[in-house]
Symmetry: C2
Subunit: 303 residues, 2 copies
């Protein structure tokens, strides 16, 4: 007879949550006329990513005692935004990538015009969906989430990171020191991860001190996420990643491994994860288990 235990099993937890997220994403973006565009949106949105942003959002909401259903529309919106950034990033005039999440990229299947428009439609749907579908939180909190998420996407967030990344590449990676690299990472990846955690916490009813602590947790895992991304670009295969491996080296891009070596990069990632977990110390240990698990997952992921 199996022993009854309340030990937290991360894989079981993630499996269950990811299933909820997939169902919610499916419902958030129904296929409708004109089908070409909703098919293109759904093709990329439902391509089976790791759903880290939604998982972080839901876990932060639960950590502070909130009902994760309140955060689900925002969790979906974060994945829409992430998907938009991938679709536009992969365009021929941007990174010109043919594969993403192990499948042909959106523009390879639907053409460039539809890929641009699918990204635009996902981005506007993300904000619409938070505003329209969120239940169980005050309108003031929902507005704060929209403002925070918007800031994380635009010219002070994700786009800012992409722009500096592009400017550095155009420069042959020359002059991109550790500080610039950190700026790129903090904006290109960190800002949206932070918005995921903070918005989940806000919707769950966190007080300001909790929001601050969770913001720092998110900044640390955000940077760790990107350091690990840099490491995987060197160590993993294209098949493992579901996207082209070795791209950074091919374009002579400044990365953590190229600036500091693989060993030191690994150490930095581990240190960041440890710092992230420290921010969770003041919370109930059992409730914090999902966010601890997600931090470890980010450090140890293979793709």
């Amino acid at each position: 007879m199996p022993r009854c235990t309340d030990a937290f099993d991360f894989n079981t937890y993630v499996g269950r949550q990811a299933k909820l997220v997939e169902a919610a994403l499916d419902a958030s973006c129904p296929e409708q006329y004109p089908e070409t565009i909703t098919k293109a949106m759904r093709y990329s949105l439902l391509a089976g990513g790791k759903r880290i942003r939604p998982l972080l959002c839901l876990a932060a909401c639960e950590l502070v005692g909130g009902d994760p259903a309140v955060a689900m529309p925002t969790a979906c919106a974060l994945e829409m935004i992430h998907t938009m950034s991938l679709i536009h990033d992969d365009l021929p005039s941007m990174d010109n990538d043919d594969f993403r999440r192990g499948k042909p990229t959106c523009h390879k299947v639907f053409g460039e015009e539809m890929a641009i428009l699918a990204g635009d439609a996902l981005l506007s749907l993300s904000f619409e969906y938070i505003a329209r579908a969120t239940r169980g939180a005050s309108a003031e909190k929902v507005l704060r989430v929209i403002a925070d998420v918007g800031k994380a996407v635009g010219a002070e967030g994700l786009v800012a990171g992409q722009v500096v990344d592009i400017l550095m590449e155009g420069n042959g990676g020359q002059g991109a020191g550790l500080q610039t690299l950190q700026y790129i990472h903090a904006h290109k990846t960190g800002a949206l991860l932070e918005a995921a955690v903070v918005s989940g916490a806000v919707l769950g009813g966190a007080d300001e001190a909790q929001v601050q602590r969770l913001g720092r947790y998110a900044q640390n895992i955000g940077l760790a996420f990107q350091v690990v991304d840099d490491i995987l670009d060197v160590t993993a295969t294209t098949e493992q990643l579901g996207k082209t491996a070795g791209k950074d080296v091919a374009v002579n891009k400044a990365t953590y491994p190229s600036l500091l070596g693989l060993d030191e990069s690994r150490k930095i990632a581990d240190r960041l994860i440890a710092q992230a977990k420290e921010e969770l110390a003041g919370f109930d240990r059992k409730r914090a288990a999902p966010l601890i698990g997600l931090a470890d997952y980010i450090a140890s992921r293979k793709s």
Copy 2:
């Protein structure tokens, strides 16, 4: 000595309002690091369009007795969204246009990558700005505006219109009858104009009956706007338009003039404008003067 009169002068009114809108737009999108992207955003946002969407939004707010300052962030957001759609529309992989508002298009000046990202950043800023900068309206009303505006942009609005337009063009314009043309116009142009009027009214404190009437006003002027656009493509010069004239004929596109002739198209535009004005009959005549003037302006504009 000039006679003292309270007669409404549309040009004076528009001049004053447009000046307020320009100042508000300038402040809504400050230049900041990384400058490349904020410069690209400002280049297109502050290129001096007609600002019809902001003007409609402010006028609708005032019509129902609201303070136009409450609607100003939304007015700016509508222009950001309109600008985003122009930037992305002009891209080489879309309409491939070199001129817009009499200036080289965004991608001609800043490159394709920056143009795509400038559009994305303007779109996310639009929602962020409504959420962050609106003062003097309840959070519930602001959320409704965000949901309405989002719907007007995405796969049920502007993008839907663009998609059907592209699909028809790919078809050599064949099979694009009046019904399809109306669908394209209602979504590509009408949806955002309607959102402008309705959101201004909601923020100004309109009741539901007023919102409905103003929605119908907007649908009529939206369709008239596009019929006039079709007419101008035939009758105006590139210099007058600030964008390439004669494009519809060149690509054999289904338009009102191509389907019904210039005279009949003109009559339809006039009828739509008359219908729009009828919807304003129940409002105070003096307060309705700006929206009446804007309807006439849309019908008689030369660019």
